[in-house]
């Protein structure tokens, strides 16, 4: 075990992983975090706590992660390169590990111009691939980026993002390979709507042997409405929403769009369960945490596996279980 996180245990055991997401509030509202967390408890193996998502200032990811631990969830602490330099990042990795955070997702971050502080100076001291290699070095070599020794290495299961739909398409899988080489243990993909392209991308990853080196969780976001589908298609960078998704929602009777959106998400999850090279699903139910129990039930991913606390931490099996 590299980190001993629940997510790592689920994936190593060969179970189909199911992770969720929780967006921290735009304020110091602890109760809001707790409320969202309660919907997710027992439904997911780990919950991504977003880091100033869409470049809007929110309660910090590590702080909301600690609240989620308090609520009995396992956080996946998201960290973007936009807001921190290498000193702050390494300090936060140590602090997170000290507080029992065991998963960390390394991201570039949306550009600051999209958020509520467009005049900010983006840090971008290192990129997301370099953040992966930095944390691996801290964990596996007990060394800071500088090469200096760490007293008690952090225990972190290292995550990375992949967008199968950004361009240049034929080279996306090579970037995935670079993240794996840098030290990613698991991958969570961008929200997937174009299943055809996703199948192609996973096949390329399989052919390159990448899925034997890393656990890939496919990103699924249920559409809440036709408006949301159109917005995702036209306004979200790197998002690929095919016309058939829009048309299917268009064909729904008034008041049934959300239901249809959930149905479509569950169909995707069914396919991912069977897809070679896919180790789980990352469900991003954006501001829809209360729907997660219903979706998890419908998707047939309950109950979630549990592990005894005394699972040995020192097991070093590097290959994903099939």
């Amino acid at each position: 075990m590299k980190s001993g996180s629940n997510l790592e245990k689920v994936l190593r055991a060969g179970d189909f992983a199911f992770t969720g997401e929780l967006g921290p509030p735009r304020g110091a509202n602890v109760e809001e975090v707790r409320k969202k967390a309660r919907f997710l408890k027992g439904m997911v193996d780990s919950v991504n706590i977003t880091d100033n998502q869409t470049a809007m200032v929110r309660m910090s990811s590590w702080a909301a992660s600690l609240i989620s631990i308090d609520e009995g969830l396992e956080p996946n602490y998201q960290m973007v390169c936009r807001d921190r330099n290498r000193l702050a990042m390494q300090a936060d990795v140590l602090g997170a590990s000290a507080h029992g955070i065991r998963n960390l997702l390394c991201l570039s971050g949306d550009h600051q111009q999209f958020g509520d502080h467009p005049h900010a100076k983006g840090v971008f001291d290192i990129d997301s691939t370099q953040l992966i290699s930095t944390i691996r070095k801290m964990r596996d070599e007990s060394k800071f980026m500088s090469g200096q020794k760490i007293d008690t290495a952090p225990k972190i299961f290292i995550g990375a993002a992949a967008n199968p739909f950004a361009e240049p398409f034929e080279w996306r899988v090579h970037r995935l390979a670079k993240k794996i080489e840098a030290g990613a243990d698991f991958i969570q993909t961008q929200c997937i709507y174009n299943m055809k392209k996703m199948r192609e991308w996973v096949k390329m990853a399989n052919d390159m042997g990448l899925t034997e080196k890393v656990y890939i969780l496919a990103g699924v976001t249920p559409m809440k409405s036709l408006g949301m589908a159109r917005y995702m298609k036209n306004n979200v960078p790197g998002m690929d929403v095919p016309d058939e998704v829009i048309n299917r929602l268009k064909g729904c009777k008034k008041g049934t769009h959300a239901k249809e959106g959930i149905k479509m998400a569950c169909e995707q999850i069914e396919e991912f369960k069977e897809m070679k090279g896919i180790a789980g699903v990352h469900l991003m139910a954006i501001e829809w945490e209360h729907k997660v129990p219903e979706i998890a039930e419908m998707a047939g991913v309950l109950p979630r596996p549990t592990f005894d606390d005394d699972t040995p931490d020192d097991k070093t099996d590097d290959t994903p279980a099939e």
């Binding site: 290192i126 370099q130 950004a166 240049p168 970037r175 961008q190």
Partner: protein, 222 residues
């Protein structure tokens, strides 16, 4: 070259309006190329400011002059008397020229331009950033296209997830630097360079290391 953009007239007016004799002083090298701060532009700006002074009913003598470069001592010789006569100077050089003059003369030196970036003339009237002077050039590994200057997130192992149709997530008018790099490496048959992880950057040669200076001892000794 260094690209600059003239400040709004109102902002310039606010800086100079309380002086009696103002010299608008052009710099005829870099910024002149982008038609912003050259000697010709200084002349035009001076006449606009004279009109403004008339409109505002302010008595102020505004003249213009210029030299080839405001960042080297030797060019100032022929303009010493003009500078000496003025209460204040509005320099239309880049920020380097403004500061160089401020170090030389004990009088207010105001910036007439916003210094924008180090760029190239893509076509007449279009200037675009190409270099951030980071102090450690990696163009040899990136097919001659700089991700530091041209990627909005300075991603060194790109492209990020926001690249769409060859464009950057920040604007449909901005090329994705990593799309350009990949296209170029393919053209050159150098995709192996793409596969290699780009190491973490040493920013100490960039502004992060404090103000930079280059001393050529061999030249000083002569």
């Amino acid at each position: 070259m260094i690209v600059g953009e003239q400040k709004p007239l109102e902002e310039i007016w606010e800086m100079i309006k309380d002086h009696k004799k103002v010299l608008v002083f052009g710099c005829n090298t870099c910024v002149a190329v982008c038609q912003q701060g050259g000697n010709k532009e200084a002349e035009i700006l001076a006449s606009m400011l004279r009109m403004k002074a008339v409109q505002e009913g302010v008595d102020i003598e505004i003249t213009d002059a210029g030299i080839e470069r405001q960042c080297e001592h030797e060019f100032f010789e022929k303009a010493e008397s003009r500078i000496g006569d003025a209460d204040a100077v509005l320099s239309t050089a880049c920020g380097i020229g403004v500061q160089f003059m401020a170090e030389k003369y004990p009088k207010p030196i105001y910036p007439g331009l916003n210094t924008t970036f180090l760029g190239a003339v893509e076509e007449f009237g279009v200037y675009a950033e190409r270099c951030q002077a980071c102090g450690t050039c990696i163009l040899g590994q990136t097919g001659g296209i700089c991700p530091i200057a041209r990627c909005a997130k300075r991603v060194l192992n790109g492209p990020c997830g926001g690249s769409t149709n060859g464009k950057c997530e920040i604007s449909k008018d901005v090329d994705c630097a990593w799309q350009l790099i990949v296209d170029r490496l393919r053209l050159l048959g150098r995709m192996d360079d793409y596969e290699a992880l780009t190491p973490i950057k040493d920013w100490s040669t960039d502004r992060a290391g404090g103000p930079r200076k280059l001393v050529r001892e061999d030249l000083i000794d002569e």
